[in-house]
Symmetry: C2
Subunit: 179 residues, 2 copies
Amino acid sequence: MGKLPTILSRQLIAKTRLFRVEQLDLEFSNGEQRCYERLIGGERGSVLVVPMMDDETVLLIREYSAGSQDYQLGLPKGRMERDEDPLEAANREIREEIGYGARELRLIKTFTIAPAYIRHQTHVILARDLYPDRQPGDEPEPIEVVPWHLSDWDELIGQPDLTEARSIAALYLTRDLLT
Amino acid sequence: MGKLPTILSRQLIAKTRLFRVEQLDLEFSNGEQRCYERLIGGERGSVLVVPMMDDETVLLIREYSAGSQDYQLGLPKGRMERDEDPLEAANREIREEIGYGARELRLIKTFTIAPAYIRHQTHVILARDLYPDRQPGDEPEPIEVVPWHLSDWDELIGQPDLTEARSIAALYLTRDLLT
């Protein structure tokens, strides 16, 4: 593994409510210099939750996604709020999005989404031993909850509205853990 | 599946060399209105390539990632260039990054990375029947090529520098296809 490049300078070049873009002037260990841009995706990272109704049934959601401008099938997720740890954030998100809390929460992996140009971490939390506990969220419309039996795996992975790499990777990791 | 929200207005609120941020005013089918931001990640999308040296050996790379500011293990990838289709882009990227071309290229899935707030598509290409063909790329330093035997699966998935959800999901899809 190489020696990390030196950051010669960094500059905030764009800022909106959700996004910040930073410009980095880098010098690699071989003397090559490059100017990179990277997106800073929030200080606190996000959580992606795999809520298991039982060892065979995952609770997916289908909700509007503004980036792709369609309804996407995937796992519940959201940004961590101030003072939350990943397990607390995960338990809040599933209460708000699917109406269940979990007695057992476990961090199984931390993902990046495009580490070449986005600084962002997503903590993947396996949630088990669920119980009904609906909390109000800030969703503009009710979220559709889609229970899926893991034995219908090929059909799940082939769903055209299941495209998010984080959800697909987290489902595979869960299948490896539970079966 | 719900009726798509109506876009009441859209506005470009930030633009850099790599990124554009758009603000959307949306009205959901139940009358709720929301203001969203989304990142536009390039018009042409990107490719992620799974180069198989043989049916058991994938060629990974380890390279500097400015977003996470570390060296990451993962699959070769890059943006599609003008007039390229995904298979052509995939074959160019592996020539530049690992020094091989492929006689067999196949699109196995198209991923999103965070469809809630990023408009971006990544085409996953399985590349087989490789032959040596190194082309110059624009990398600032040589990329380390890391052959990995798929039978060492748990060790692969457990590597601390393998974090990118796209690479992990693509490796699982490939394992399902080939074994």
